[in-house]
Amino acid sequence: MKSFTYERATSPAEAASAAARVSGAKFIAGGTNLLDLMKLEIEAPSHLIDVNALALDKIEATPDGGLRIGALVRNTDLAADARVRRDYGLLARALLAGASGQLRNMATTAGNLLQRTRCPYFYDTNQPCNKRRPGSGCTALDGFSRQHAVVGTSNACIAAHPSDMAVAMMALDATVQTLRPDSTVRSIPIADFYRLPGDTPHLETALEPGELITAVTLPKPLGGTHIYHKVRDRASYAFALVSVGAIVQRDGSGRVALGGVAPKPWRVTAAEAEMPRGAKAVAARLFADAKPTRENAFKLRLAERTLAAVLAQARG
């Protein structure tokens, strides 16, 4: 691990201004992804700003009937919250499908949104990777790509987004609340939060340098049946090959977002309109522009079948 300096921030404003002041600074909260990447020197911050003391760990009701989830709420606590279990079951299910009990005890809401891809070529520092070293090339394009994205990719990067929680946040129309180093705040709809790779796969989100996530807000509950179906190589503690998060209403309408298939949680409005017509119609819209590799083309059929299973489960 490269050497770095360290400070404990005592307020969000102090954290954001410190991040803007020190070049190469990063925030650390749970640390489960960042420290892993620092050990491999994929991340090499010059300075760590520990934000764990910022008191952003509350889950509060909002005036419009939704929830405000503090950036530091641990994945375990978010999944265990009675309101989340009752009204946002999709979110609780997605969280519980991810990682292990130990990791969920440390991982935070904001950190989960920002976790990096598990593309093996991103992790292998001996290989070119446009995300890790911009302009160096993409080894996955001609490499082992079974786990990679099938849609939303580019010639520069086919890495899949790893988060389960973010899939639920996408379907729930969450909003990411931030504080910038100049003390201004922003509300970023999650649909605008993630960037597709294009020619710049190292730029993953809409966040500006030093911008600190303070909370994630959810609109009022949607009702309906909440399902998160994750398909993976083993029954527990593995990343998704394909996951489907859905909220299905009695008339068959609803929302759906997918994990494991794209560089960001994948949600297509035109696909949701097809939900009453069944999985094949939904999948056709979701994957209209898919460019799978020979090794991951199976994800298209797997996604359609997982969608069919989810819609059948919703019908009861």
């Binding site: 050497s3 360290y6 375990t76 265990a80 009990g101 130990q102 440390m106 029954a235 503690y237």
Partner: protein
């Protein structure tokens, strides 16, 4: 440039400890290399195997994926703090009785995790295999297997580990 150093004070197994550490030191390395508490094991060092599981503030975590300096003022329990060879923790005794290990390398992490898992079920925390998110989780083999999935056992002692945890859970009021 010399590595940046920092002082950190925390409680380990009910004893106050103060260390002067290279900031890069993980909690795992602080425990093993600086406090000589070598019961906690380094397996993968990347949060994938669970051998380094310790209990911090009542919660199980991977000590390899957290910096020691992030635990200023914290309270840490390792396998050495759960029981001693003369006075085993009930979970340690049950692992011995049920043969919940072969080589023993993952065992301290398994036992710290298992103790915390029973607390999580007691607190009503749901899991991936809980049928009803709003109901109290039941103490089934499927629940224990899911909740223990962050602890890998290369020797494959899993069924005996489930037996050991089940027995301890049954003993609790």
């Amino acid at each position: 440039m010399p590595p940046a150093m920092s002082k950190v004070s925390f409680t380990v197994n009910r004893e106050a400890r103060v260390l002067e550490l290279d900031i890069r030191t993980t909690l795992l390395d602080a425990l093993r290399e600086h406090l000589r508490l070598t019961g906690t094991k380094k397996g993968c060092d990347h949060g994938q195997c669970g051998a380094c599981t310790v209990i911090v503030g009542g919660r199980r975590i991977n000590s390899c994926l957290t910096l020691a300096v992030m635990h200023e003022g914290g309270s840490i329990t390792t396998i050495e703090g759960l029981g001693t060879p003369d006075r085993l923790h009930p979970m340690q005794a049950a692992f011995v009785k049920h043969d919940g290990y072969q080589c023993g390398y993952c065992t301290p992490g398994q036992i710290c995790s298992a103790v915390a898992v029973l607390g999580e079920i007691e607190a009503g925390t749901p899991s991936h295999v809980s049928d009803d998110l709003t109901a109290r989780p039941e103490l089934t083999s499927a629940e224990l297997r899911e909740r223990m999935s962050g602890n890998i056992c290369r020797c494959g002692a899993y069924s005996n580990i489930v037996d050991a945890i089940t027995e301890v859970a049954g003993r609790q009021p």
